[in-house]
């Protein structure tokens, strides 16, 4: 069961689908060697941090530091030099200034649910966790925004405005745990992003502390940049440009209602064509989810949601008033029936709606029952769906590993799950190679390596598949401006060889 991960991959075990497991042996991931001068100056550095923070906000005990040794990509672990848990922007600024003067790398951390190793420390780094900064600073319904400290969890942002009939739209499946800080750093998506967009489309402004301790405001409740859109580039920069301590977020009035339908097809191509027709017709479902046969079968065996046994299945959800829902579903039915589905099932009530979602929501868990698996996150143009699914099927035969597909079909963000047996020698390596091939295929058809999980360390070394040197150079220039010493989360996003001279400088 315990496994190691390679490039582009989340590994999940059959026993617990949420977590990854470490192989005691060596891993494929390279990290820079820690700076021995920093390691030997630990006592002085910790004393300096204690000088600027309350006593309970600095952790240097090795046992306690274990809590910060990894994020949700748990195959890679390394305790940091120290961890700090500030409560205010001023404390964050003081920590960063101290580390900047000492030349100590800092790794920002929200809730540690990154699947890409974004919050993985190195031995010579200080983890700066914002978990204690979870206050709501301002709710303004008239102007439709909320201002929060960045450590607040995603779900509790919606929770804070729910009573007034509002919500915060980006809703990653990890929303119970993940923090707004991590959402901003990763530009996270969610089940509803087809209609409402991802984090960057719902972010109005931030308070950002640069590595040298300077505090800045980017954007604001008016939601428009005054000059260059620096907020736009900070969002999704994976904690490499500054530490976000506060954020203004757009909140939206809740729709009156929502309802899903389930449509089964005898081929992936036809299901893909149906998705294209729905989109083309100008319908805007909040979600269009896709599952293929291996995934449907696994899910049925596990969750018994009563799904039809077919080649491909779509779950489509629409929102609005009762009348609006009926109007949209009638149109969707008309489009779907033209594609000769094996089944068209509309939820008549709340219980049936739940059953339609049940299988989809248990899909990852169900696949985990069959075997260990890894989950990919590439995006493809929706029109390439049939081609990519066919190629994945062919590769599955070539590699001798099964794969199930469950993903957000409306926006082409795929999550292929490759099944393997971690106890079988060679299976894992095959699986990693298969995963990398799928991501390369995503890029080849005009897509990208990651749609919502981020690059982190996980996809770092595949960046050159998608980007030419000049493309990465342009991105790294942005970091040069925000963090000229490359101290903030330095070993992420760019291939180590590509960023080597900058990190050394």
């Amino acid at each position: 069961m315990p496994v190691t991960v390679g490039v582009g991959i989340l590994l999940v075990s059959r026993e617990n689908w949420l977590y990854l497991f470490t192989n005691q042996g060596e891993t494929a991931m390279e990290m820079p060697l820690p700076d021995t001068a920093i390691l030997s100056a630990k006592a002085r550095i910790v004393a300096r941090l204690r000088g600027v923070l309350p006593p309970d906000a600095v952790i240097d005990d090795l046992a306690e530091l274990r809590a910060y040794e990894c994020d949700a990509l748990t195959a890679y672990r390394c305790p940091p030099l120290a961890a700090v848990l500030p409560r205010t922007t001023e404390e964050v600024a003081a920590v960063l200034r101290a580390c900047w003067e000492e030349g100590v790398p800092v790794v920002p951390r929200g809730s540690g649910t990154s699947l890409a190793g974004g919050a993985l420390p190195t031995a010579d780094s200080v983890i700066l966790g914002v978990a204690r900064m979870n206050a709501v600073l301002e709710t303004d319904y008239d102007n439709r925004f909320i201002r929060v400290q960045s450590g607040r969890t995603n779900l509790s942002v919606s929770g804070a405005v729910e009573a007034e009939g509002f919500f915060y739209a980006p809703d990653p499946s990890s929303q119970l745990a993940c923090a707004i800080a991590g959402n901003i750093a990763m530009n996270s998506g969610g089940a509803h992003c087809l209609k409402y967009g991802v984090t960057t489309n719902n972010l109005l402004g931030v308070t950002l502390v640069k590595m040298d301790g300077t505090v800045l405001t980017l954007g604001g409740p008016w939601g428009e940049a005054s000059g260059l859109d620096l907020l736009g580039v900070v969002c999704g920069s994976e904690g490499q440009l500054g530490v976000v301590t506060e954020a203004w977020l757009r909140i939206l009035p809740k729709p009156e209602g929502a309802r899903p339908v389930l449509v089964g097809f005898n081929s992936n191509e036809v299901a893909g064509a149906c998705v294209a027709d729905i989109i083309r017709a100008g319908l805007l479902p909040v979600a269009i989810e896709f599952m293929d046969r291996p995934c449907i079968r696994a899910t049925e065996a596990f969750a018994k949601a009563g799904y039809p046994d077919c080649e491909a299945l779509l779950i489509i959800e629409v929102e609005g008033s009762e009348a609006e829902i009926s109007e949209q579903l009638a149109r969707i039915r008309q489009i779907a029936l033209a594609h000769d589905p094996v089944e068209f099932r509309e939820a008549a009530d709340e219980a049936q709606a739940k059953r339609i979602w049940l299988g989809r929501k248990s899909a990852f868990g169900a696949m985990g029952q069959i075997n260990d698996y890894m989950c990919l996150d590439g995006t493809i143009p929706v029109s390439s769906l049939p081609h990519v699914l066919r190629r994945i099927g062919e590769m599955s035969v070539e590699f001798g590993l099964d794969v199930g597909n469950v993903f957000h079909a409306g926006d082409g963000n795929m999550h292929p799950l490759i099944l393997f047996d971690a106890n079988k020698p060679g299976d894992l390596e095959k699986c990693e190679a298969f995963g990398a091939e799928i991501l390369k295929l995503c890029v080849e058809v005009g897509g990208c390596l990651t749609g919502e999980h981020g690059v982190g360390i996980e996809k770092r070394d595949l960046m050159s598949v998608q980007f030419a040197p000049a493309d990465m150079e342009a991105q790294m220039r942005v970091k040069d401006v925000f963090d000229p010493k490359w101290l903030l989360n330095p070993a992420k996003v760019f291939p180590l060889a590509t960023s080597a001279t900058r990190r050394a400088g």
């Binding site: 008239d142 102007n143 439709r144 530009n187 960057t200 800045l216 405001t217 980017l218 604001g220 409740p221 008016w222 428009e224 005054s226 000059g227 260059l228 859109d229 620096l230 907020l231 736009g232 580039v233 969002c235 999704g236 920069s237 009035p253 729709p255 294209a276 989109i279 083309r280 100008g282 319908l283 009348a323 609006e324 109007e327 949209q328 149109r331 995006t379 143009p381 029109s383 957000h408 926006d411 082409g412 005009g446 897509g447 990208c448 990651t450 749609g451 919502e452 690059v455 960046m463 980007f467 000049a470 493309d471 990465m472 150079e473 342009a474 991105q475 220039r477 942005v478 040069d480 401006v481």
Partner: protein, 360 residues
């Protein structure tokens, strides 16, 4: 200079002896830059259009009108409703899609679907050293590397010259209707807009012009009828409903700030906290067209009031001089934010040749 390929564009920039004035159609340029004119109009044409995937990839010098016609042919459109400011600015010429992106030009529908930058999926551009750079792509979800797409949108040609842009586009709705609300003062009229935006009825426009508040809904016919009815009950004042072409004409006026075209005076564009909008405008004086529920105010005032405008706006938003004399065009920024902007420009355009002096 008028390159017709990206390679020629790169050559022109790499070989430039002095500053370059980057020009699409010159229909929405604000700010004052100097240099030899570099026209992008030669980089024209649709590269890829997939209506079923809502994606359009187009070369940056393509006329906006051509883009819009291509999309309309498949009953689609640019969701962010780019304004045509030729009347307001007194310009002629052919607006290009690259110019739209460089200005992040976004119209009334921003309250529902976001700005140009939110629909922009990818860019190709040539930086000030002549390097060809790509970022983003043509897919709707992409977090691979830094988001330079957002950075280039609204950079007014100061970081690079766009050669290709890709968008998520939108299907034309089946129906549209606008509630026209009369008989309210500005403060109350703007409050009605915020009330509509705070309702679950998915508003696609919330503006105020000529003493009338306008609230737009779009979508399937039944849904538009339903939401119009619900909103009517929510609004105070005298409400009438207009539909179809008549509704569309109202929004073109708001989008293009037609009310101020050809009239003397300076035009300011204020980004505001909506609840502050009425007060800020009353304090400055002048005539306003409000959009985005008050989040945007176009203000017509006599020339020479820059200091009063900026002082009044401070704390509630910021002000850009769209048309007028003398004053600094872009809003002043906090020193440490301005330093980041200057730092980026220095890295992307080390010789300071792209639209020199445009944004500071």
């Amino acid at each position: 200079m008028r390159p017709v390929t990206e390679a020629e564009l790169a050559e022109a920039i790499a070989g430039a002896a002095g500053p370059l004035l980057v020009r699409g159609g010159g229909t929405r340029t604000i700010g004052r830059a100097v240099g030899e004119v570099l026209e992008t109009g030669g980089l024209s044409g649709v590269e890829l259009y997939e209506p079923g995937a809502l994606t359009l990839v187009v070369r940056a010098g393509t006329p906006l009108a051509e883009v819009e016609a291509t999309l309309a042919g498949d009953r689609q459109r640019l969701a962010f409703e780019p304004p045509d400011l030729r009347g307001l600015l007194g310009r002629e010429g052919v607006s290009t899609i690259g110019g739209v992106v460089a200005a992040n030009a976004s119209g009334p529908r921003r309250v529902q679907v976001g700005a140009c930058r939110d629909a922009l999926l990818g860019v190709r551009f040539v930086d000030g050293a002549g390097n060809v750079v790509k970022n983003g792509g043509r897919v709707m979800k992409n977090v691979t590397g830094y988001d330079l797409v957002k950075l280039l949108a609204g950079s007014h040609g100061t970081l690079g010259v766009l050669s290709e842009v890709s968008f998520k586009v939108q299907a034309l709705p089946e129906a549209e209707a606008t509630l026209v609300i009369e008989g309210l003062d500005d403060a109350t009229g703007l409050a009605m807009l915020r009330k509509a935006l705070g309702s679950p009825f998915d508003i696609s426009g919330a503006a105020r012009e000529g003493g009338r508040s306008l609230v737009r809904v779009e979508g399937m016919a039944g849904s538009v009828a339903y939401r119009t009815g619900q909103l009517k009950a929510l609004m105070a004042g005298d409400v009438t409903v207009v539909e179809g072409a008549e509704s569309a004409a109202l929004w073109r006026r708001v989008r293009d700030v037609t009310a101020f075209a050809g009239r003397p005076g300076a035009v300011w564009r204020l980004a505001l906290v909506p609840t502050a909008a009425a007060g800020v405008v009353a304090a400055i004086g002048g005539e306003a067209v409000w959009d985005w529920g008050g989040g945007l105010a176009w203000l017509l005032v006599p020339e020479g009031q820059a200091e009063a405008v900026r002082a009044t706006v401070a704390g509630s938003g910021h002000a850009t001089l769209i048309r007028g004399e003398g004053a600094v065009v872009f809003p002043p920024e906090a020193a440490e934010v301005a330093a980041l902007g200057a730092g980026l420009r220095a890295r992307f355009d080390p010789r300071n040749i792209l639209n020199r002096g445009m944004m500071g």
